[in-house]
């Protein structure tokens, strides 16, 4: 595949799941096994295509858009159907495809009530198109549509297959994100008109930037910020997250943590920063402060949780705080770190949600106190995996989490855009508190391991037969487990591919 001409590959990879979702709805609901297998087949074919795209991606020109498609779309408003990928999009696109495949494989296990795998898998495939599209759309309108497209399937996933408070959680999720999206859309419109009302192209707008007065940029950035910050979520826009994660079915949680949150940070990096550099420079210290509050705060909240899934959900707040800290640094290293943290968090927390889901399937509870320890005795392999992923999540070097955290702090010590001169002391403080956040993170994870994994099984579970990791779980988890290690040992896998693209991007910032 020639990355310069094979734009079709991206289009096919993007809409194959959508077509698959359509095909699934045509199958009779009674063909349960066939539906599940078909979903695996569709996502597998899609992943194979994405893998081929990844393989043929020209890494020597990672800064330029490849696999582009650019045709007029809605001519009345100058919107174009514009797809492409560079070194920044590629890993996220790949991750989306991979996680969906693994989720499809995982869904060959029984679904939570009310079952209905056909509906579930169709929604999941629809979700995949939305998620993947967000990362390769290079037209603001197209981006917005993909961005919003994810809301509906996720809403139904939580609302239909979720836990006892699913109605509350799904509506909360929907309203929060939609609230932000409204402001984002308004900001997009403002950008469009300010830039001369003839293009929605992200690349063109970035090239044009900075345009408009600082006041305009500030307001436009605020709008975009609200949209993305709620999605990330940045403290204090996070309360939807724990509820959504806790109530969502396993696959929903995995995709939510693994990909959906990334759309927010990706939006910051792809849209908010290059198009509105002046606004970004004004907001950067505030973003940094919110990010660090998120880190410390998320960790503190985790310490107080009694529900495993809710704890992991709150840990996301902290981890995304590191990503936002990287963005707040407004320099190449920071963006690099943010993107790495994005992927690392997607893999690790996605994996943690898989584990939490399986734990719930076995214990039928997520209460730490009820599980009461001894998992390492009861299910040794499972316990080891849990420890492994938890340690990865607390940012141990050699595993993926580290390369999102340390470089983010490192980058924040000398923020770009001249922020170092005016806010040098503030940023030093941010680094210190972020580092303290790592201690708290270590604290709650170790405590979690202690309370769940270590010790003797309690009376209640001592004689309960609990299955250790099953074959289907191995299949859907092994890629993630391997990636955690591979990225930790060989961070160049991501850093290398992103480098040129990030350099380009920071060029737009003028920093």
């Amino acid at each position: 595949m020639d990355p310069n001409t094979a734009g079709w590959a991206l289009v096919v990879a993007l809409f194959l799941p959508l077509a698959g979702a359509g095909a699934l709805t045509l199958m009779p609901a009674s063909m349960d096994r066939e539906i599940r297998r078909a979903a695996v087949a569709i996502t597998a074919v899609g992943f194979a295509l994405v893998a081929a795209v990844t393989a043929s991606f020209d890494y020597s020109r990672a800064g330029e858009l490849q696999f582009t498609t650019d045709v007029p779309w809605i001519t009345a408003i100058d919107a174009r159907f514009s797809l492409g990928m560079d070194g920044i999009s590629l890993p996220l696109f790949f991750l989306t495809s991979l996680l969906t495949l693994l989720c499809a494989i995982y869904t060959t296990k029984p679904l939570p009530s009310p079952g209905k795998p056909k509906a579930f898998l169709s929604l999941m495939l629809l979700l995949q198109t939305g998620m993947a599209g967000t990362f390769v759309a290079f037209d603001l309108i197209l981006f917005f549509i993909f961005f919003e497209l994810t809301l509906v399937p996720m809403f139904f996933m939580i609302g239909m297959w979720g836990g006892p408070r699913r109605d509350y959680a799904s509506v909360k999720f929907f309203l929060y994100t939609l609230f932000g999206s409204v402001f984002m859309l308004v900001a997009f419109l403002a950008i469009y008109f300010q830039a001369g009302a003839n293009s929605w192209s992200i690349t063109e707008l970035s090239n044009m930037a900075p345009f408009g007065s600082t006041t305009f940029q500030t307001w436009a950035f605020l709008g975009v910020f609200l949209g993305f910050a709620i999605k990330v979520p940045v403290w204090p826009f996070h309360p939807w997250l724990p509820d959504a994660h806790t109530e969502a079915p396993t696959v929903g949680s995995v995709l939510l943590a693994g990909v959906l949150l990334k759309m927010g940070t990706y939006g910051f990096i792809r849209i908010a920063l290059p198009i509105l550099p002046d606004g970004a420079a004004r907001f950067a210290p505030m973003i940094g402060v919110l990010a660090v509050i998120g880190i410390v705060y998320g960790a503190l909240c985790c310490l107080a949780q009694t529900d495993v899934k809710r704890l992991i959900a709150f840990s996301s707040v902290g981890h995304m705080g590191f990503v936002m800290l990287g963005i707040a640094a407004m320099n190449e290293a920071g963006i690099q770190a943010a993107l790495f943290g994005n992927i690392a968090h997607g893999i690790i927390t996605g994996m943690l949600f898989f584990l939490a889901g399986s734990m719930h399937e076995r214990y039928h509870t997520r209460e730490i106190a009820v599980i009461g320890g001894g998992m390492l005795k009861k299910m040794p392999v499972y316990g080891v995996l849990f420890t492994y992923v938890a340690i990865a999540s607390l940012g141990l070097p050699g595993l993926a989490g580290f390369w999102g955290e340390f470089p983010a702090m490192w980058a924040a010590i000398s923020p770009g855009l001249g922020l170092a001169d005016s806010y040098g002391g503030l940023y030093l403080g941010l680094v210190v508190f972020a580092a303290i956040g790592t201690v708290l993170t270590a604290g709650y994870f170790l405590w979690l391991i202690q309370r769940i994994n270590l010790g003797e099984p309690t009376e209640r579970w001592a004689n309960e037969p609990l299955a250790d990791v099953q074959a289907i779980e191995w299949v859907s988890w092994l890629p993630l487990l391997a990636l955690i290690l591979a990225l930790g040992i060989f961070p160049r896998l991501l850093f290398g591919g992103q480098d040129a693209a990030v350099t380009n991007l920071v060029g737009f910032l003028g920093g």
Binding site: Y176, P236, H238, P239, P242, Y297, L300, C301, C302, L303, A304, Q305, F314, N331, E332, A333, G334, I335, Q336, A337, L376, K377, I391, L396, P397, G398, F402, F406, P407, M409, W410, A411, I413, S414, L428, V431, V432, A435, I436, T438, V439, L440, A442, G443, L446, W447, Q450, N453, L454, G455, E456, F490, P491, R492, F495, G496, D499, V502, T503, V506
Partner: protein, 703 residues
């Protein structure tokens, strides 16, 4: 430079390979994986000896740096995977591999029958790899990675018996306390690297940082802030007060682990890192003074705590803290070589003591010295090796501990001579602590070996695999001292071995007054040729910092007197076995303070752990669930109320307002308008015609 140094990475890689292999196939092997570990470490050890030998005989040597660009970090900066081999590296390699190899051999027998035997060896391999990674790292980031990994291994091995809650807690405490220090380390490394941003693409590179510091390219802020923060990391890792609290608890791990990790190697990582960055440290008086003061506090007060312990491993743990205090204090008074020398000898004799303790514990199934007694007869080999170790620790003349501890005291004396108060502090407090050390070691030895057997078991001598390491280490505990002693005045000795990559004489300690420094012997002609200007020193003999090691009769006399006094006292109290009332436990408030460990643990638990874990977290959750969520819910409620008001006031009272109003008005109008639809077709027709007429008229008018 010989080609052997190029293969230093093999020393590091072998333990990792061992860990991977043991994990993969260990369980299937007859030795359950221990043979892999021993073989790998043996090879590693031999290679390390070769490297040490080459750097030693040729010392001082230019540092050898080899690296590959591992990953870009953005902004043109690069993270290297590289090794830096010089005398310091070689010393540490030798120490780590030696102790690790001994512990491997020892554990094969010691851990026999334990659960997770294979896992234990895999962890040992992983730990050794991490420690060696830290040692050979050519840049601070890689060092941080090794640093964190040894912390993880420490956590996993302290909690090796994870069925028990106290062991789990100990692991958590160790990890979290050191992790707290890591905040300092990480931020410190970041600050230092930030100082390098304009100078290089590899801002973590240790040699470049050192050179930049010496060349005055780093601002004072960078140096002070960076080094103090890094020192915070060193404090937690190397058990400096008040961050030492985890170390005694860490004794919950298996004894070989205590020997390897919590006595000989990992806990010295902090000292090592200070030594690695010594040229930076030496730039600033405040930094050195801080380091010295914390070191002095630790060496004295840490030692005192050992007085009241009954658990043999805890006695050793506190003595480790105290000895680490010596090393840190030495760094703070310009005793770079002395510090590393003590680190080196301490590694051997403390490992020996721990392994000996393991042998004893193995025999009596108790950690407590009050449960032992009379072991000398039953376990003769353990006895004499333990005594050698104890003598070395107490600094009995002609043992390794004597030479190394004296180097530190002399360094303090010279530093004091150069006009620094901390120098005298180190000298006198160091002497006092030596007395304390001798006393508690003598107490332990008398209680263990003299008197009657108080245990419920019949003690038996350990097997060969356990005794052999003891003997090797016992030999080393004496022999290692001769590397830097009046018996080795000429180069190569330990000081020339380490004499890289230090400072050019004229820029050493830029804050000292040149005349005073020269007079005190702190600096002088050709002293300590720097790594960068080593070639300029020519082929002639290189003089070392504190001059040629010589006998110090005054010091020797004081040490001997103190030693005799301490042993005599200990004999009086404990020579006949366990006294009714242990004198160290009968010192009133003093004992209370010591038993309470100065209240650090309690303080930490009560004012840090509990508030953060229980209160602050609850507050945060509360704010998330109630405040923020409540705020959003409040906005929601307010919106609803506003809507109700709108509905009632605007919709209902001002009927046409809002959407409902529009709907109502539409209904109202339609109700009125529908009456036109009377069903009276004739009327329709009439209106139709009338409309036509009107249209015609309208057209006519328009024309």
């Amino acid at each position: 430079m010989d080609a052997l140094l190029e293969y230093t990475w093999v020393v590091v890689a072998l333990p990792l390979l061992s860990a991977v292999l043991i994990t993969a196939v260990g369980k299937q092997l007859p030795g359950k994986g221990s043979e892999i570990g021993i073989a790998a470490l043996g090879l590693s050890w031999l290679l390390a000896i070769g490297i040490a030998w080459q750097t030693f005989v040729a010392s001082p040597v230019e540092p050898l740096e080899r690296s590959v660009d591992w990953t870009p970090l953005g902004g043109g900066f690069v993270f290297e995977l590289g090794m830096l081999v010089d005398g310091l590296t070689a010393v540490m390699l030798l120490l780590v591999t030696t102790v690790s190899f001994m512990v491997h051999v020892y554990s094969r027998e010691y851990m026999q029958g334990e659960p997770r035997y294979t896992y234990f060896f895999a962890m040992l391999g992983l730990f050794t790899f991490s420690m060696l990674l830290l040692v050979v790292a050519n840049n601070l980031l890689l060092a941080v990675i090794g640093w964190e990994l040894v912390g993880l291994c420490s956590y996993l091995l302290i909690g090796f018996y994870w069925e028990g809650k106290s062991n789990q807690d100990a692991g958590n405490k160790a990890f979290l306390t050191t992790k707290f220090g890591d905040v300092g380390l990480i931020v410190g490394v970041i600050v230092l690297s930030a100082g390098m941003f304009g100078l290089t693409d590899t801002p973590f590179n240790i040699l470049e940082i050192n050179e930049a510091a010496v060349a005055g390219q780093l601002s004072t802020t960078t140096i002070v802030l960076g080094m103090l923060l890094i020192f915070l990391g060193c404090m937690s890792k190397s058990g400096q007060m008040p961050l030492h609290v985890w170390l005694p608890d860490a004794m919950a791990g298996p004894t070989p682990v205590s020997a390897l990790i919590h006595a000989a190697t990992m806990v010295t990582a902090g000292v090592f890192l200070l030594a690695r960055l010594y040229p930076v440290v030496a730039q600033n008086q405040a930094v050195m003074a801080t380091i010295a003061i914390f070191g002095v506090l630790t060496l004295f007060f840490g030692g005192l705590l050992a007085l009241v312990q009954d658990d043999l491993k805890k006695i050793l743990a506190y003595s480790t803290i105290s000895q680490l205090g010596y090393m840190v204090a030495a760094i703070g008074v310009g005793g770079y070589a002395a510090s590393i020398f003590h680190l080196f000898t301490h590694g051997f004799f403390k490992a020996l003591l721990f392994l000996g303790a393991g042998s004893l514990i193995h025999a009596v199934h108790s950690n407590n010295i009050s449960d032992m007694g009379g072991m000398a007869k039953a376990m003769p080999h353990t006895f004499w090796t333990f005594i050698v170790g104890s003598l070395a620790l107490a600094g009995f003349p002609l043992t390794a501990g004597f030479f190394s501890k004296d180097e530190i005291l002399i360094a303090g004396e010279i530093w004091a001579g150069a006009g620094f108060f901390t120098g005298s502090l180190v000298y006198w407090v160091g002497l006092a602590a030596a007395f304390v050390t001798t006393f508690y070691m003598a107490r332990a030895c008398f209680l263990i070996f003299a008197g009657e057997n108080r245990s419920h078991h019949t003690p038996h001598e350990s097997g060969k695999l356990m005794l052999a390491p003891l003997m090797v280490l016992a030999v080393l505990s004496v022999a290692a001292g001769y590397l830097l002693s009046p018996f080795s005045p000429e180069q190569p000795n330990f000081e020339t071995w380490l004499a890289t990559p230090l400072l050019p004489a004229e820029t050493t300690f830029p804050f000292t007054d040149e005349g005073t420094a020269a007079a005190s012997g702190l600096v002088g002609d050709g002293v300590l040729a720097a790594g960068t200007s080593l070639a300029a020193a020519g082929d002639g003999p290189v003089k070392v910092l504190h001059g040629v090691p010589t006998w110090h009769p005054d010091l020797l006399a004081i040490v001997l007197v103190l030693f005799s006094l301490a042993v005599f006292l200990a004999y009086r109290f404990y020579g006949k076995g366990l006294p009714e009332r242990d004198p160290t436990l009968s010192m009133g408030r003093f004992t209370d303070v010591l038993v309470a460990k100065y209240g650090f643990d309690d303080f930490g638990y009560r004012y840090i752990v509990v508030p953060v874990r229980d209160k602050l977290s609850a507050a945060a959750t509360y704010s998330s669930n109630v405040l923020i969520d409540g705020m959003v819910a409040g906005v929601g409620r307010a919106t609803k109320n506003a809507a109700m008001t709108t509905y009632r006031v605007v919709d209902q009272q001002v009927i046409d307002g809002g959407i409902n109003g529009a709907a109502f008005s539409a209904a109202w109008w339609s109700d009125k308008l529908k009456r036109i639809q009377s069903g009276d077709v004739q009327k329709y027709a009439g209106v139709l015609v009338a409309g036509t007429i009107l249209l015609v008229l309208a057209f006519a008018a328009a024309r």
